[in-house]
């Protein structure tokens, strides 16, 4: 718990991509707009306007179906550069008010921690209101805003008033705000949790909060504490300083020809693991989580993550996990255009040894092997020694 109240502002430009396109072309105002890649054989909807949403169009829906549902919709290709630019402009508007500003990835979301700034800038609600007015005037975007005691509550609050409006949640009101809501509105509660909760016939937050932590631990294990706190509006996570995202190591591969050949994907994935593993070892860090992002040729994106326990920087261990994550993300027959591997939750390499001698030896052998490969590569170059699986078939 914090010794003082925090005031977190959440700005959320609803349907960000459409909102940005409407600034560029004001004729799109009040018309149903769908953002989807053009020319792709089985393109999927990337974003849509409120009008299109009301016609039944959803993110990820096949474009062909979306067009059938909303015949008069204007279809635009995604312009990620425009969204990034608009996000930068939005961030610039907020910079004078706080050093603690955390943005989403060009998605129109932004958290600001304005705790303790009242003497300089006035009450947080006034800062939020002025910001919205300024953003509307300068950028032509109209963000929803909320003020809450933490990020989780502030985010729920903007979800409640979407597509426009504002919501102020006072300290101490977290629990009562969440109580009547569907559990799916609580950020951080994922599809797998929801499935499990449905099995217990729990759909609303107040039904869920009737359970004790001990009761939750039976079906949810280590995740129980997070769920227990989230449902009560408890979220101690800080708003990170501007530009400071949690450290992570990223490697990408874009296929020249989209593919759904598993051996090609595994070869590419191993290459990515080698890149990341090398960087982790040079920084004397180990990864606590791997994530795989797959972009399909129709514009659909799948993201899956797995925890790495214990944290490691060993290519062989990381690859085994990355491969499992890849298979979790790879659920469609559509070919893949782009694969990204991310390792985060970086820690110092764990000092704890395995309990059993055999395990210990196995781990030591794996580490020695990678160390030896690193030594050879450092001396003779990356191509001097390679794993068979990284060679093209």
């Amino acid at each position: 718990m914090n010794a003082y109240d925090r005031s977190i502002i959440h700005l959320n430009v609803a349907d960000f991509a459409v909102a940005v396109e409407r600034v560029v072309d004001c004729r799109l105002k009040d018309r149903p707009v769908i953002i989807a890649p053009e020319g792709a054989a089985r393109a999927a909807v990337y974003d849509m306007s409120e009008e299109a949403y009301r016609n039944g169009i959803r993110k990820g829906m096949a474009l062909r179906r979306a067009v059938r549902l909303c015949k008069n919709a204007e279809i635009l290709p995604p312009h990620p550069d425009r969204y990034e630019h608009a996000m930068g402009a939005l961030l610039k508007q907020t910079l004078p008010y706080s050093p603690l500003i955390e943005t989403g990835e060009a998605d129109g979301h932004l958290f600001m921690d304005v705790s303790g700034t009242a003497r300089l800038f006035g009450p947080p609600v006034d800062v939020a209101w002025r910001l919205r007015r300024q953003v509307k005037k300068d950028l032509g975007l109209d963000p929803i805003w909320s003020v809450g005691p933490n990020k989780l509550v502030a985010k729920v609050a903007t979800r409640l008033v979407k597509p426009d409006g504002e919501y102020i949640v006072g300290a101490g009101e977290e629990k009562s705000l969440l109580a009547p809501l569907p559990i799916s509105l609580v950020p951080g509660i994922e599809a797998a949790d929801l499935r499990r909760l449905r099995e217990f016939n729990l759909t609303r937050v107040f039904q869920f909060t009737a359970l004790s932590l001990e009761q939750l631990q039976i079906p949810f294990g280590a995740r129980a504490l997070f769920l227990y706190e989230a449902a009560r509006g408890i979220d101690p996570s800080p708003v990170l300083p501007v530009g400071q995202t949690p450290p992570k190591v990223i490697a990408d591969h874009e296929f020249g020809n989209d593919t759904n050949n598993i051996s090609v994907l595994e070869r590419v994935l191993y290459g990515l693991v080698e890149q990341i593993g090398g960087r982790l070892r040079r920084r004397r860090r180990a990864a606590g989580q791997v994530a795989v992002i797959l972009d399909y040729s129709d514009g659909m994106r799948r993201i899956r993550r797995l925890a790495v326990k214990p944290a490691t920087a060993n290519d062989l261990t990381l690859f085994a996990l990355a491969r499992r994550t890849l298979l979790l993300a790879w659920t469609r027959r559509v070919r893949i255009r782009h694969v990204r591997l991310i390792c985060d939750r970086l820690t110092f390499p764990p000092a704890q040894q395995d309990l059993f001698a055999a395990e210990r030896k196995k781990k030591k052998d794996r580490d020695n092997l990678i160390l030896a490969i690193d030594d050879i590569r450092n001396r003779f170059g990356h191509e001097a020694v390679r794993f068979g699986r990284s060679l093209a078939a």
């Binding site: 010794a3 003082y4 109240d5 303790g116 009242a118 003497r119 300089l120 800038f121 006035g122 009450p123 609600v125 006034d126 939020a128 209101w129 409006g165 504002e166 919501y167 102020i168 006072g170 300290a171 101490g172 009101e173 009562s176």
Partner: protein
């Protein structure tokens, strides 16, 4: 602090505009480290009424106001600002719906008989032009039945015809104390509603008034002589003409508001305009 005075039979409530300010803990009004959720119960130990500002930023929500008023004693009173979408950011196609929402939102205060006034504060840009006059009339009709008080920030509204119309509607004209700057609504002690007068002390920070920064605009400490003059002249006169009155201090920046409010209460008690027992 709030009681009937045998002399004028006018019941007075004195408080501040808003009560939830972290700076007030730094300035000593609240104990150090007081969390915003605990401020209202502490505030009610000092004052019998407050003016809700957050209802200007956000349409009031019945559930939140229900919870809030339960934190206050039964005889505590509220004045609530009208939401900005009805005073500052008016959408011709939407405002009637907003008025209905507002009425629904503050319903718990009406039901609990704790709502003393609804404050319609218009911006300086809201001048007395035909379109604005029509809007104001329509808004007052739409909000009929609520205890309405209208605050103008532009001098063009200071005419007898406006006062007569407010009087006809038994709607309160808010008396303001603010800097002597050209174009601002003047300091007038006119009572248009015999049921209620309403005074707001904004401070006289002429330099900060148009700075666009609330922290400069409302940074002012009323001197004893200024408050004394108010008590002796305007308040005494208005209390003779109305059966009740509310007085709020909005100079909140460094907790001058609660200090000045306490001082004014003492001055009013000394003069017999307000009773001692609260």
């Amino acid at each position: 602090m709030n009681t009937k005075t045998p002399k004028h039979d006018c019941r007075l409530w004195v408080g501040t505009s808003g009560y939830s300010y972290a700076e007030w803990a730094d300035a000593g009004f609240y104990p150090p480290g007081t969390k915003s959720g605990n401020m209202l119960p502490l505030y009610t130990q000092n004052f019998p009424i407050t003016e809700l500002n957050f209802t200007w930023y956000q349409m009031p929500k019945a559930r939140a106001l229900e919870r809030m008023h339960r934190q206050a004693p039964a005889d505590f009173r509220f004045a609530a600002k009208l939401t900005r979408t009805l005073t500052h950011e008016i959408d011709p196609g939407q405002w009637r719906g907003q008025a209905v929402q507002y009425r629904d939102g503050i319903a718990p205060l009406i039901q609990a008989r704790k709502l003393t006034a609804v404050l319609l504060q218009f911006p300086p840009s809201f001048v007395r032009a035909p379109q604005n006059r029509r809007y104001l009339a329509a808004l007052l009709d739409e909000l009929d039945g609520l205890p309405l008080a209208v605050e103008f920030r532009h001098a063009s509204w200071a005419t007898d015809r406006v006062f007569a119309e407010l009087e006809r509607r038994r709607t309160t004209l808010v008396t303001v104390d603010e800097p002597d700057l050209p174009g601002l609504f003047p300091r007038l002690d006119i009572v248009t509603n015999p049921g209620l007068f309403y005074i707001r002390f904004h401070g006289r920070n002429a330099k900060g008034w148009r700075s666009g920064n609330m922290q400069k605009q409302f940074d002012y400490d009323y001197g004893d002589d200024e408050l004394r003059r108010w008590a002796d002249t305007h308040i005494a006169k208005m209390a003779r003409q109305a059966s009740s009155g509310v007085i709020f201090f909005n100079n909140h920046v460094r907790a001058q508001a609660p200090r000045n409010a306490v001082r004014l209460i003492n001055l009013l008690i000394e003069r017999g305009i307000m009773g001692k027992e609260g």
